[in-house]
């Protein structure tokens, strides 16, 4: 076995598989721990009994684990996975390490839809998610049609359109929030900061296959993304059909994020911080980044949501408060420590 780096490609399928497996193991570990932690005491013994089928059908632990904690943890995992995935892909496509999956206005579009839904008294099982997803689609449609010129999609135009759209929707949302005075206000605010407590299995059944299909397709664009980060013209010269890759990835991520957000509310910072950490730890190759960052995002959000459940127990915090509270200082630190690397030398 020769250890000279020039005798082995820097990235092999084996390495991607091994590191993904480690991240998946970490995810399972954190997920399992989260199942045990909460306001109500659930012992390891009860979980063991539940798994082996010896737990009584009317045991309150069964309800807490299966009806409350498990769907919530899975939703946190799916949401964290998609947000980190979206962040990685958007940062590559826009060649901007500060991009996150909300940057194109998907978030404010879906928030706009959700707020209207809540205002109209829709339920969280169908009405609000549907309104939210419609809002996200509307926003994506606006950004892509306004940001697309005859010459194709130009990144800075798309970015600017997204920023302006965000500002507009935020104003509309604030307007609605300021005219509502009843309990719906609390619901709205929770939604805006990410609320995983409304998780139901039916939403997981919709989300899971969409996420699997979406992430596999995005993974198949990993090499194209590597080249696009070095410049669109260069990627084109190296054989990438840049227009097609960009359009497919932008639309796919936006749809995925719109779908996830419609069930989870707006959870900030996951899509920014996790991709960054992954880039620092694993380098810039998206064939590795996509799986490890996504799995890391899932782990991070489950941990953050567990904190959100227990920090001011028996009350709960919106999970977005935790991610932002942890994320913002961390990000400032990153900017200070690594700022020079992002700026043009």
């Amino acid at each position: 076995m020769n250890n000279d780096p020039l005798h082995k490609p820097p990235l092999t399928p084996g390495r991607v598989f091994r590191l993904s497996l480690i991240m998946a193991f970490l995810l399972l570990l954190v997920g399992a721990a989260s199942l045990l932690i909460g306001t109500a005491e659930v012992s390891l013994h009860k979980i063991a009994a539940l798994v082996s089928g010896s737990l009584g059908a009317d045991d309150p632990a069964r309800l807490i684990i299966l009806r409350i904690r498990l769907p919530r943890i899975i939703l946190a995992g799916l949401a964290g996975f998609s947000l980190a995935l979206g962040g990685v892909v958007f940062q590559a496509l826009l060649r901007n390490p500060l991009a996150d999956p909300f940057i194109l206005g998907v978030s404010s579009g879906s928030a706009f839809g959700a707020i209207i839904g809540i205002l109209l008294g829709f339920t969280f099982s169908v009405g609000v998610p549907l309104m939210s997803f419609a809002g996200a689609l509307f926003a994506v449609y606006l950004v892509l049609s306004l940001g697309t010129r005859r010459m194709g999609m130009e990144s800075s135009t798309i970015l600017l359109t997204g920023v302006i759209l965000n500002a507009f929707f935020t104003a509309v949302i604030m307007f609605f929030i300021s005219i509502v005075a009843d309990s719906r206000l609390h619901t709205m605010l929770f939604w805006l900061y990410g609320d995983l407590s409304q998780s139901r299995y039916v939403s997981l059944i919709i989300l899971t296959p969409a996420l699997i299909a979406g992430s596999l397709i995005l993974f198949s664009f990993a090499k194209e993304l590597n080249l696009i980060t070095t410049g669109e013209e260069i990627a084109f010269q190296l054989g990438v059909d840049v227009g097609k890759a960009k359009k497919t990835c932008l639309v796919l991520v936006s749809l995925l994020i719109g779908l996830v957000v419609s069930f989870s509310g707006l959870i900030g910072f996951v899509g920014l911080i996790v991709p960054h950490l992954a880039r620092m730890a694993f380098g810039s190759d998206h064939r590795l980044l996509i799986p490890v960052a996504s799995l890391g995002g899932a782990t991070f959000l489950i941990a953050a949501d567990t904190l959100a459940r227990v920090l001011i127990s028996p009350s709960e915090l919106p999970v977005g408060v935790i991610t932002a509270f942890l994320g913002a200082p961390f990000f400032l630190y990153l900017l200070r420590a690594r700022g020079s690397q992002w700026s043009r030398s």
């Binding site: 780096p5 020039l6 005798h7 082995k8 490609p9 820097p10 990235l11 092999t12 399928p13 590559a92 060649r95 901007n96 390490p97 198949s220 090499k223 590597n226 080249l227 980060t229 070095t230 410049g231 013209e233 260069i234 084109f236 010269q237 190296l238 054989g239 990438v240 059909d241 880039r279 380098g283 810039s284 190759d285 064939r287 690397q341 992002w342 043009r344 030398s345």
Partner: protein, 259 residues
């Protein structure tokens, strides 16, 4: 000998004004072709037509006899490589990773680089004297080192022709010579064709077998350095009084500005 790239009556316009019009050009294996002309004469547009970044409004671009527009991008990248004036890497990659990117057109959608691809990349780095850089971050390199790495990436593409857009404009004398000696060697030994766009008339005169001199988007003169570079042609195209003599070592024409 079959040309690698062919332009037939090629024309491209930005809006209503033609940047390049009626250009006929063949690029043959093993030749080093220089494109000269003042700012705005259509040099860069011509290069972008050759690499397929722009499609001509008139005429046609052929890649080994096949029309560029009928080819997939990956197919073109197996024949045509490009080294830009300057490349900025937003994210961090090692030198070896950057050179391996040159293998992209040769790999399947989900395929990782094979040992064979690694060998090709390592050989390309060796050819550009950049092997000792392979583990370094692309961010740590000097301008000259980076251009050598990007040239290695172009070689790793195993193309028939490399297009160079002012590849040495930010480099000092030593690196400039190094890069050009290297390129000249590649055309001699590997039958690679090189198309070079440059403002440096002496450099082009020194190294290129054939020169195309552009004026207002059309070919003013074409031929060997001896045929193209003389006081009359330079004054006509660059609108600037010059004295042309010969390099005492190589005998190639050499241009001096008249004070």
């Amino acid at each position: 000998m079959e040309p690698i790239l062919t332009l037939t009556k090629a024309g491209f316009r930005y809006g209503a004004s033609w940047a390049v019009r009626g250009v006929d050009l063949d690029v043959f294996p093993g030749e080093m072709l220089g494109i000269l002309g003042p700012n705005g004469s259509g040099k860069t547009t011509l290069l972008k037509l050759l690499d397929g970044m722009l499609h001509p409004h008139e005429g046609e671009v052929l890649v080994r006899g096949k029309s560029m527009v009928t080819l997939k991008r990956g197919e073109v990248a197996k024949v045509v490589a490009m080294v830009a004036q300057e490349t900025f890497f937003r994210f961090d990659f090692s030198v070896l990773e950057v050179v391996l990117m040159g293998r992209f057109p040769h790999l399947g959608r989900l395929q990782f680089e094979r040992t064979k691809d690694l060998e090709i990349a390592v050989n390309a780095l060796r050819a550009t004297h950049g092997l000792e850089l392979s583990e370094r971050s692309i961010h740590e390199l000097s301008g000259g080192e980076k251009q050598r790495v990007l040239l290695a990436r172009a070689l790793a593409q195993e193309p028939g022709v490399i297009l160079l857009d002012e590849p040495t404009s930010f480099l000092d004398l030593k690196f400039k010579k190094e890069i050009f000696d290297l390129i000249a060697g590649l055309t001699r030994e590997k039958g690679l064709a090189v198309v070079l766009v440059s403002h440096d008339i002496d450099l082009v005169s020194q190294y290129c077998h054939r020169i195309v001199m552009l004026k207002n988007g059309s070919v003013h003169l074409t031929g060997t350095p001896d045929q193209v570079i003389n006081a009359a042609s330079i004054e006509a195209v660059y609108e600037c009084a010059v004295l042309v003599d010969r390099n005492p070592i190589t005998g190639k024409p050499r241009v001096h500005l008249k004070p």
